[in-house]
Structure formats: structure tokens, C-alpha cells
Symmetry: C2
Subunit: 162 residues, 2 copies
DNA sequence: AATTCTGCTGAACAATATGACCAGTGCCTC
DNA sequence: GAGGCACTGGTCATATTGTTCAGCAGAATT
């Protein structure tokens, strides 16, 4: 396709947007030293490309009253995958769910109101027929919060070097 | 403190913002049926509360050329935690890093350009002195992408019921 | 019962940003 | 050499922003 990847200007747009998300297109063009139309067009393209999925608010579960995060590895009974997915999609405390290589394994990210509440959430999650076994790891620290900037910069550099 | 949690209007603001992130405060107030000043004040409060951390662009690693995601569980040698954290923070392909309960365990999210490239990333990640053992699970599907809306709605309902 | 707080309303204002255009220019490809 | 493409720098009318104001209702305090 050739539509994949980003160049240096795209990279700078994303980094700038990550640092100061509420700036408008005009201010953006000033910072980048390009014409407003250019910034506009690049931003439109990044969004229709799917590189930038959106600008949804980043909500902190802790501030919502859910300070405990955990990852659960689930072993699924053969053929029950779809049911389990539907079940987990219905649990608000399941923030994310992946199916991974190896047998019928899934990995999900959970949050809870407290360590005690985590027990309730886990029971809710694994108390379902298709789930054979579950092992949970509680998050203590988050030294590297979810980030994308370093990867964006690397992708932009790689593209530039072509 | 009592500053934790959100009420129904806060919840509707977040949901609305998640659905149509680029709308302004004025449009927001129209949709919610409140005065502009109210919407303004609520949004400001949500941000200074830390409930909304920001509006950074949500970048899709796949569109950047990194379609492969994996989770790696790392076993760390006693006392080497800080070094390992610093090492992993320097690897762009490490999108996220958590320390979890149990021994010296860490869980990190990785991306790579391909399955073959994943080998390079893993070598990069685990080729470090403090890391004793690593096990990797490659993500095949992502039935529930990272989400927060259901939790926001539940938190708002819980608050309302008081 | 009176008072003070707090949050919401509805309105105003100047300043700014937006979306939509346009002609002109440099670069690359065919 | 002609087109196609992306960028520039400019215009325009319209919409939105940040800020401030007085008024009002309900809750809590005195």
C-alpha cells in the first residue's frame, strides 16, 4: 500500500498533539512552521489513515475510585471462546481483553475499588462456565505508563532515513 | 476526601467526549442541555481532579507499522529492579510496564513490525543483565480494546444512588 | 429564621479559530 | 514538457473561545 508509516512532519504533529492536546490547527501550524492548510491536511490524513484513532479523553480509573489494577490470565475451555468474550465484554471492570497464542488463553486487564473488591471482580470474571483456570497478577507500580511517543519518533526516523 | 468519583452529569460529559472528542464546550453544553459555563466548569474540574488526564491523540501502533502486540512476563534478579526499569523505558517498542505481585516480576506490553521482528524486540528487552527469565504471549485478537466508558457509567450510577 | 456557600443560568464582550476558498510555486513522475 | 501533488500565504464570513457579570435556587451554617 505504501500508506503505512509517517514522515517527520507527521511525527512532529503527533508529538505536539500529545504534549498540548487542546491546541487548534492554527496554533499547530505556527508551532510547526508550516501553513495552516498543510497542518489541516496532515491532520486529516493522519485521522483517515487510522494512525490517529481519535482524541478521546484519557480517564484515570484511580480518580474514578478504582485504584487497583490487575492482569488475569484465563484458560478457556475449547469452543467456549465466543461465550467468554461476550461475558467479559459485559463486565465494566474489564478494561481490555486479548486472546493470546497457546491453547485457549486470554489476558485481561482488570480494575477494582480495593484489594478486597478485586476478589469480587475476579469472582465475577472467572465465575463463568467456559473458564477453566485463572491466574491473577496485581499491579504494584507502573514505571512506564502506556505511551506511544517514543515509538512515533522511531517510526518517523525510520521513514526519514529512506 | 470526597473529591473522588463523578456524578451523572460528569459521566455524560465523559461519554459524550469519548464519542465525539473534537466538539467544543459550546456544542457540549447544547448536547447536555446545560449552560455553557456549567459545561466549562465541569470540564475544568474533571481535568484538575485528574479524572480526565488529557486528550492526547490515540495512536494505532499497527498504522505506524507495528501490527504485532505481545505481553512479556519478566522475572527480575533481586535488587535489579531500577536498572531493568530504566532499560525498558529506553526501548520504544515497550509501550507499557508494570511491576506485579510475586517475586521480582514485571509485565510489559510490546509491539513489533512482524513476528520475526518480535524476536529482535524480545532479545532487546531480555538481553539485559537483571532479567532472569521471560515468557511471552503473542496477542492474536483483541476482542475488547482498551475502554473506559462502561466503568465511567458504572461509577456515575454508583454515585447517583447515594 | 436569617445568612452564607455553592453551583447553575443566561447574557454580554472582544479576541480568536474555523472551514472554505483561491492563485501561485516547487518538485516528481510519466 | 505536461500533469499531478503538496505546500504556501492570503482572503472571507461565521462560529467558538475565554472571561466576566448579575441573578437565582437549594443546602448548609449560624
Amino acid at each position: 500500500m505504501g500508506t503505512d508509516g509517517i514522515d517527520g512532519l507527521d511525527g512532529r504533529i503527533i508529538v505536539l498533539l500529545a504534549r498540548e492536546p487542546r491546541i487548534g490547527v492554527l496554533e499547530m501550524s505556527r508551532r510547526l512552521g508550516v501553513a495552516r492548510g498543510t497542518a489541516q491536511a496532515r491532520l486529516d490524513r493522519l485521522q483517515s489513515n487510522g494512525v490517529i484513532r481519535g482524541f478521546g479523553p484519557q480517564v484515570d480509573p484511580a480518580a474514578l475510585g478504582y485504584p487497583v489494577t490487575a492482569f488475569a490470565t484465563l484458560q478457556i475451555r475449547q469452543g467456549q471462546g465466543a461465550d467468554v468474550r461476550a461475558h467479559l465484554a459485559g463486565v465494566p471492570e474489564v478494561l481490555e481483553l486479548h486472546t493470546t497464542t497457546g491453547g485457549g488463553d486470554m489476558l485481561c486487564r482488570l480494575v477494582a475499588r480495593s484489594n478486597a473488591d478485586l476478589q469480587r471482580v475476579i469472582d465475577l470474571v472467572v465465575g463463568f462456565d467456559g473458564i477453566v483456570r485463572a491466574s491473577t497478577a496485581i499491579v504494584m507500580e507502573n514505571p512506564v505508563p502506556l505511551r506511544i511517543i517514543p515509538l512515533v519518533e522511531q517510526a518517523a526516523e525510520d521513514r526519514e532515513r529512506n
